[in-house]
Structures are given as C-alpha cells and as structure tokens.
C-alpha cells in the first residue's frame, strides 16, 4: 500500500526496515530554479511543515530527496491514495506467534527518528486520514497512537512535507483549509529553459543539442494548455524522451511515444503535436 522511498515492501514486514535505510547516501541530481533551497532550509530550522505545490513531474520529489540528502535526514515517502487509512500512517497491531504485536506505520517511524516525512499527493487521501497529521503540524508536535493509547512526541528534527498539484481543480477544494493553512507553501513550476536543458541532458543522457530541442518542444507544447491539455508536458516526460533517444530510438519516434501519445488522445491535438515534433527534429 505504501510506496516507501525506493523500497517496495508491504506493511507487514515494515519492522524489518531500520530508519537508516531511509537515508540518502549519494547526492541526488537537482538543479535549483529559484530560492526554494534556502526557503526550505529556513523551514527546516524553524520546523514549519512545508507544502510543495506544482504540476506533475516538475521536480518536487527530486527536490525533497536532494534536501533530505543535504540536511542528512532520512526521507520517508508515503504516496497518498483514496484507500489510505490512518492506521496505514500511524501503525497497527499485527498478529505474530500467538501475540499481537504493534507495528509502527511510516509516519510514526519518521516522527520517532526525526525523519522528513513526505506525503506525496496529499489531496488524494481522504479527509479523515489527513486529520491525523494536524497535531503534528502545530506547536504540539505530537502524534497520537490511539490504538495503543500513546502520544508520540516528535523528534526535534522531524519535518512534515506534503505535495499537491493545483492542476486538478475540483480536487483542490478537497484539501481542507484547516489542513492547508498549517503549511508553508513553496511553488514549483516547470524549470526555465536553461535549467530544464541541463536536467534533460543529465537525466536523459543526451547531448546539448538534443536537450535544447526537447526543451523547445516542451515549451511549445506547454503553449497549448488552453487547447484541452489538462497539464503542460512535464520535465519527467522530456527526460523519458531523452532516455529513449539515448537508447537509440529515433528522436521523432521517441517524442511520439513520450510526448504525443502520453499527453493526449485527441486526434487533432495529436496531429498538431506531431507536426511540432517534425518541425523541431
């Protein structure tokens, strides 16, 4: 159910993972695009929960990985979804050898060890789930483990971070204001062209010229947002296209797969994007 940073594991054997496993040991590649790093560092010092806003694939997760590495804190990531329950976050009793054993959920783990806890796409979780974080986000900084009758006090280094994508308009209203207003917000958008080019070069392993063209493609397709594309094309997709190209796929085909068909099913829009690709490559 949870997607815990690069580990696939079911809640049952979570106990097997030590908090050390959440440490990021090598520097994640991240290109800064503004003052987000210093802002986050301040928030970390002041222990203010942070909300990362921005469209999909624009580097929110990568940024946080980078910050966790920079601040040498473990990073516990929880991908939120509709069926996520409070127990999934806090923990539950398991049955083992005749006994019931308490197992901490990822949130409890992060709270205890002073990790950065990242609730990815927090709006996807139900409201009754998101309220469990409320006492953690004010000056109480506690996490009640109701089933055990315990109150966990947060480690001084614990920091809560949520991400959310304001693109989905109707969902936006679902993020309760009482939740939203506990967070300091950092805005993310698609990186400016220079930066995006550096990212596509590094991550997509393509030469400068190809990266430049991919970024140009990204900009042009983003211009079409009014035309029925729900979101602009993400940096992630440009990176994918780059990877395909570096793997030997012809640029036009790579872009068809990673951009045209990934972005839309509308025939006219597809035709337009195909023409733009043909123009760029």
């Amino acid at each position: 159910m949870q997607n815990i940073h690069s580990k696939t594991t079911s809640p049952k054997n979570l106990n097997g993972i030590a908090i050390e496993d959440y440490h990021i040991t090598t520097e994640p590649f991240y290109v800064s695009t503004g003052n987000e790093i210093s802002l986050f560092e301040s928030a970390y010092r002041l222990k203010m929960p942070v909300l990362l806003k921005g469209p999909t694939g624009c580097g929110k997760t990568r940024f946080l990985e980078h910050m966790a590495w920079k601040l040498s804190r473990p990073l516990v990531t929880i991908a939120c979804h509709e069926d996520l329950t409070a127990s999934d976050l806090v923990g539950r009793y398991l049955l083992r050898d005749n006994e019931t054993v308490w197992q901490d959920g990822p949130l409890s783990l992060a709270v205890k060890h002073g990790a950065i806890c990242y609730l990815d796409e927090a709006v996807e979780a139900r409201k009754d789930t998101t309220v469990v974080i409320h006492p953690l986000t004010d000056n109480r900084r506690i996490l009640p483990q109701e089933k055990r009758g315990l109150l966990l006090e947060a480690h001084p280094d614990f920091l809560l971070v949520m991400s959310y994508n304001p693109g989905y308009q109707s969902v936006m209203k679902d993020l309760k204001h009482s939740t939203r207003q506990r967070f300091l917000a950092i805005d993310f958008t698609y990186p400016p062209s220079k930066e995006e080019q550096a990212i596509v070069m590094e991550e997509g392993q393509v030469d400068e010229n190809t990266a430049e063209r991919l970024v140009k493609l990204g900009e042009m397709v983003r211009n079409l947002r009014q035309q029925g594309l729900e979101e602009g094309i993400s940096t992630r997709l440009l990176v994918y296209a780059g990877r395909l190209i570096s793997d030997g796929v012809l640029p036009k085909e790579a872009c068809q797969a990673a951009v045209t068909r990934a972005m839309t099913d509308d025939m006219e829009l597809q035709e337009a994007i195909t023409e733009i690709i043909a123009g760029i490559f």
Partner: protein
C-alpha cells in the same frame, strides 16, 4: 542653330554618327520646332556619348534604323543600349525592338525603358533576349494583335520587377493565356498580367487554364471580366480555391491553429482570406492584419498550409517588421526571407519541407535556368499588407481608447479579444466595429425587465458560442443571467403530494435501496485496519486445539460511497405552454421534477435544478430552483411551483453554464439532464443548423469535462436533430409527455445503478 553647331564640330565625329543624327532629325520633322529642338539636343548628347563606346558602329547604325521607325524609340534606345553588354546582344536586342515596334510602339518603348531594370534582376544576360522574345511571341501568336498591347506592356514591367514571383517560362505560359483573355477584353488581360495571375499561385498549368475558362464562361460584363482576371472578385478567388486539388482549410483549421499557438505562445485565429478581397496588395495568398491570420480556403497539401500558417505567424504583431538586428524591413521579399529564417531557427525540421515544396513548384530547382537573380517567391509566402496592418493597429488603438472611457469596467484583455474576434469575422471599418461593440456591451431595451429592475440578486456569466460558418468560437458571445426563481408561496408541491402520494412513496423506496452504506465492514479478512477480536478469539481457540491458525483475523473497511451529482435543466420556453391531453408541457415537467427531487432526497445524490429561457444572446436566463448546496426546502418547492413558460431556447449557452456549475462539483460521476420540448431556437441564433451545431459543441465540451449529458425531449419531430446533437444513447424522445414523471426516475436509476 543646333544643326549648325553639330556640323561645325562635325569634323570630329564619324560618318555613322552623322547618319544617325540625320535619321533622328528626319523622324521629328513632323513635330513642332520647339519639341524637336529639345529632342535633338538630347540625341546629340547621346550620340557623342555613344562615340566613346567600343560598340559605337553597331549602336549608331541601329539607332539610325530605329529612328526610321519612330522618334519616340530613339532616346529610350540610347539609354537602354548603354546597359546591354556584348555586341552580339546589341544586334539581337535592336532587332527585337524593331520587331516589337512593328506591333506596338508603346510596348517597344516599355521594353526599352525596362531593359536596365531587367538586366539588374535577370540572372543571365541572354535572358534579356528571352524576356523580349516572349513579349514579341505574344503579339505574333495572337489573332488580334492590337488587343495584346496592354498585356505585353504590363508583362515587360512585371516580369522585370525585382519582386516578380515567377521564372520566365512561367510568364511565357501566362502570356499564352493572356492571348485567350485578350479576345474578350484588353483591360482584363492587362489586369491578369499585373495581378490576377497571383490568384493562380497554387494552381498548376492545367488548373490555371481551367480557372481562365471559368472566368471566360462565367463573366458577362466587361467590368466583371476585369474584376475576375485581376483577382479582386470573390468569384475569381473562389474559382481558384475550388480548383486547387487538396486540403480544405475548414478541415484543418483546428490543427493548424494549435501548431501556430504552440509556436507563438498565445492563441492564433485563422480565417478564410476571402474577407480580404479588395484590400490593397491582396492577391489571394495567405496574409495577416497583424492580429489574425488569413489563409486560402484550399491548399494543395496540408504541409503547404502549415508553412503558410507558420510563416504568417512569424509576421504577427510585427508592424513595422524588424529583423533580428532590429533593422526595419519594408521590402516584401526581404521580410519573407527573414520570416522564413526565423521560422527555421525555431523549427529546423521545416527546412526539409521548405526545400521539398520549393522543388515541387519548380523553384530553386535549377536556379541557373530560371533567369532571375535573387530569390523567387515561395508558394507559402502570401501577401504582405502593410496598409491593412497599420489600419488594424490604428483601429484597435482608437477603439480601445474610446472604449476605455465608455466601458470603464470592462477589462482591456476582454475588449481586445472581442475586437480581434470581430476583425477576424471580417468587419474592419472603425465605426462599424464601434457599433458592433456597442451592440455587445450596451444595454438594449427588451421585453423582459432588466434584472437590476427586478432587484433580484443576479449573477452574470459570459460564454462563447460556436459559429459553424466561421468554424470557430465567438468568444464572450452570450450572457447568462443566473436568477432565482420567484419564491411566492404556492401549493404546487402540496397538490402533487396529495395526488401522487403512492407513486412518490414507491419511488422513494426504490431509491432508498440504491443508497449504499457509507462504509462496509468486512470481517475475518486476511488484511485490514484493525483486528477482528471475534475472529481472533476463534483463531486462537483453533490453534490451541491443534488446528492450524487462521490468518483471517482482520477487519477491512471499504469505501463504497455513491459519488454521483446531477444537474437538471428545465426548458421554460414559451412553447411549454402548449397543452397535450389536457396538460401543459411545463406542468408535466414540473411534476417530473417534483418526483425526481423526492427520489434524490431519499438517495442523497447532490442535485441542482435550473429552469432556462432566453431572449437573445445577452439575456440567457437561468432560474435557480435549487443549487447543489441548497436544501430542497419550502423555498425551493415554491420556486419550482412558480416556474412558468417564458421565452426562447438558446441551448448551447445553457449547457455551457450547467457545465460550468458541474465543474465546481467534485463528484466522480456528473450527470446533466435536459428536459426540453423542442428544438433550440433563439433570436439571432442562426438557422436550425447553427443552433444544432452550437448545441452539439456545447455537449461535446461537457463530455470532455467528464460530464454525462442527457437530453429528454417531448418533441416528436425531435429525432432528426437530436441525432445530430447527441448519439442515440444519450437522448430519449418521449412518445407521450405524460410519461415523463414516471420515466425520469426510472431512467435515472438505470443511468446510475
């Protein structure tokens, strides 16, 4: 006197010079002395100059010959021949002049006068002769040679021009065609050579011939012929459009405008260029007024269309046009070349296509053979209309200033978008635009009272409307006035409840069953949020007694929430007053809504009910009976009871407003149910086709926003147009209006069950 002087110094000049001079003198013998005196002075100067030339013998000998033909040729000859290089050419050149002069002195003079320009612009010197010969051949081939003079004269001018569009062999073809036109009108032929041929830019030779046939057959009067062949009549552009074999603009407009928008970074309006007829400099090609792009209705291929549109995109909002170094360019060829350069910088992949189309149109293929220096215009360049661009800019600025005073509260962006829409629609005249704007923004007197007078709380919304002729939306075209239905107490609901108590109870019960438990608990599961103590105890007991212990000891709670919202639109058009089997349509609709409301109260799905009626595009009224967040209380019931037949039906706008309201709701399933009694019809809502295509668009828009639209009509003739609006599955035609109250809940159950 002059003669005296000449003879005095004559020992210094050659015999050939003397002969030439004598001939010139003889040629003006019939003129008045004052005229001839000036002429001869000039001739003398020219002869002295010619004496210095290495080719003096041949020049003077030919000058003498030419003087014998007509004095008007003499000075132009001297002027031209200076530029003509090798001696072998001079002889050919002079022969040409003499032969031309036999047919028409004017044409021959023009040939001479244009020779220096031609030598500058033609690639090869030999082309000078080809250029002249083609003109001569036109005379020789024509039956009635006299009728060709204007055309040949125009040809000498156009074909030697630096901005000429064609290689010489293309001109040879045009001249052949000109001969055919000359048979009916001299002036039309001239017009064809000067401008009209450009209408054929995208036609091949066969198609051009057919275009000329059409003109010759279809034009009665001389004026008609002239307008057709100089390319300024609608008929002429249309004829060319339907001859272009290829792709019609209307099929590709959306795709093209998206490509342009991607390039420019803002929406681009593409229109048919037929609205530009009569604009100075417009010759049927792609063009721009600086804000909108105008394209021919047909192009030979999509690729060419794309190049036209993109090329024009590079010219948008660039008046005056500046190149990358900020230098202002005015020469059209330079502008086109620079625009192509910019385009290729942005989209290098186009280079390939540009080369391909250049080759297809026999341009750049053998530049050495074309007989032209400098670039030959490309088929996608189109026309540059600096006057139109300037005027458009001025018009927009002027109207914006005026409007800023009069309509202070209207945001400038909205104003600008209204203006560009109107310009794109073809209106260019400032006063007419101002008037149109006034019609859109001013309050006009209507039968129905202004909401301000009603002292209601009215919210207004603007919506676009689809124009099937334009193949585009008219932005901010219709105004929805969201009003609240009257709330005067009435006994409508009480009466229905009394009369239909049984049915209502039954339907309520049916709907109750649809209602899911909010959460369902599943006991004794292998996974879950909490331990199921009962199952656990059992499992432990099992284990103690030696049996393997069951793993199924958890409670799982699953979310099973019904997540449907529905929006009802009730038609309040005047026709709902009609009576069927003793009951008015409006009353049946209201009754159906009352029952449906009861059912939905039982079920708990959020719902909204609005009545709608319109009177022109600024008075599309939507009457709130119940909004999503309002309870179905006494007030709402009174409102329902008060709904009455009113005006007309502007369906598209109504659907757009409902869509907007549904978008604000976060349910996974959104349904829009429209109860109507007839076809969409409103003031200035065009004919049935217009109304239907707008409604259809609005329904498509709704669907693209994950809304399921559904139309229920009691119009038996409705099947035809309903099929056009919405596929069969999404509409119901009631065999009898009276069925609506029972059918509506049943339908809803089926839709969402």
């Amino acid at each position: 006197m002059i003669l005296q002087d000449f003879h005095q110094s004559s020992n210094k000049i050659s015999a050939a010079a003397k002969k030439a001079y004598e001939a010139a003198r003889a040629s003006v013998a019939h003129l008045r002395p004052r005229t001839s005196k000036g002429f001869l002075l000039e001739v003398e100067r020219e002869i002295r100059e010619a004496e210095k030339s290495p080719d003096k013998h041949i020049i003077l000998a030919e000058a003498k010959q030419i003087s014998l033909l007509n004095w008007a040729l003499v000075l132009p000859f001297f002027n031209a021949v200076k530029k003509v290089p090798a001696d072998n050419l001079i002889l050919q050149f002079s022969n040409l002049v003499q032969q031309l002069a036999v047919h028409d002195i004017d044409a021959a003079v023009t040939f001479l006068k244009r020779t220096p320009v031609a030598l500058e612009n033609l690639e090869d010197q030999q082309d000078l002769i080809t250029w002249g010969k083609q003109g001569l051949r036109a005379f020789e081939t024509a039956k009635d040679k006299k009728k060709m003079w204007k055309a040949v004269k125009a040809y000498f001018i156009e074909a030697s021009d630096a901005n000429c569009r064609y290689p010489l062999d293309r001109w040879s073809f045009f001249l052949e065609q000109a001969i055919r036109i000359a048979a009916v009108s001299v002036d039309a032929t001239e017009g064809f050579i000067q401008h009209g041929n450009r209408v054929c830019l995208l036609l091949n030779e066969d198609e051009t011939i057919r275009w000329i046939d059409k003109g010759l057959e279809g034009c009665g009067s001389e004026q008609e012929l002239i307008n057709y062949f100089n390319g300024t009549s609608l008929k002429s552009v249309e004829a060319s459009d339907c001859l272009v074999s290829g792709v019609p603009l209307k099929n590709k407009r959306n795709t093209l405008s998206m490509i342009c928008e991607a390039l420019l970074g803002q929406p681009v309006k593409l229109r048919s260029n037929s609205v530009l007829l009569g604009c100075k400099g417009f010759n049927g090609g792609a063009a721009t007024d600086g804000h909108n792009i105008f394209l021919p209705d047909m192009a030979p291929s999509f690729g060419l269309f794309k190049l036209m549109a993109l090329h024009q995109t590079m010219l948008l909002q660039r008046h005056p046009y500046t190149d990358l170094n900020g230098k202002i360019l005015t020469d059209p060829t330079q502008i086109h070349l620079d625009a192509d350069k910019r385009l290729i910088r942005q989209l290098p992949g186009l280079l390939h296509e540009i080369n391909k189309y250049s080759a297809d149109h026999h341009i750049d293929q053998h530049p050495e053979k074309l007989g032209r220096t400098g670039p030959v215009p490309k088929p996608w360049w189109g026309d540059i209309l600096p006057d139109l661009m300037k005027e458009t800019d001025e018009t927009i600025t002027a109207i914006k200033e005026k409007a800023a005073e009069k309509y202070e509260n209207i945001p400038p962006e909205l104003l600008e978008s209204l203006l560009t829409s109107m310009l794109a629609g073809g209106e260019r005249e400032q006063n007419a635009l101002w008037k149109l704007l006034g019609e859109m923004l001013d309050d006009i007197d209507f039968d129905s009272p202004d909401p301000e007078e009603l002292q209601e709380s009215v919210k207004t919304f603007f919506y676009k409307e689809w124009d099937r002729k334009l193949c585009d939306y008219k932005l901010e075209w219709c105004q929805v006035r969201q009003r609240i239905a009257r709330e005067d107490p009435n006994d409508f609901i009480t009466r229905i409840n009394d009369r239909l108590r049984g049915i209502i109870l039954l339907i309520r019960k049916q709907f109750m069953k649809l209602k899911p438990e909010m959460f369902r608990k599943y006991r004794a599961q292998p996974t879950g949020d909490a331990l199921d103590i009962d199952a656990l105890v059992e499992a432990l007991v099992d284990m103690r007694s030696g049996a393997p212990m069951s793993e199924n000891v958890y409670i799982r709670r699953d979310k099973r929430i019904r997540d449907v919202s529905v929006f009802f639109l009730v038609d309040l058009s005047g026709s709902t007053d009609e009576v069927f089997n003793g009951r008015r349509v409006i009353d049946v609709q209201k009754e159906a809504m009352a029952i449906m409301a009861e059912a939905l109260e039982a079920l708990g799905d959020p719902y909204a009910i609005y009545g709608f009626s319109s009177e022109g595009r600024f008075r599309v009224d939507m009457f709130n009976v119940k909004d999503f967040n309002e309870p179905y209380d006494e007030k709402a019931q009174y409102r329902l009871g008060n709904l009455q037949p009113l005006g007309l039906t502007r369906m598209g706008t109504v659907v757009r407003h409902a869509t907007y309201k549904l978008e604000e709701v976060s349910s996974t399933i959104k349904i829009l149910i429209i109860l109507t009694d007839g076809r969409p019809y409103d003031m200035e809502y065009g004919n049935l086709e217009y109304a239907i295509s707008d409604t259809k668009k609005a329904i498509q828009e709704a669907r693209s926003k994950n809304i399921h639209p559904f139309i229920i009509t009691s119009d038996k003739k409705g099947s035809d147009y309903l099929q056009m609006i919405s596929p069969q599955t999404e509409c119901v035609i009631l065999p009898k209006v009276e069925l609506l109250p029972t059918l509506l809940p049943a339908l809803y159950r089926r839709l969402t069950g």
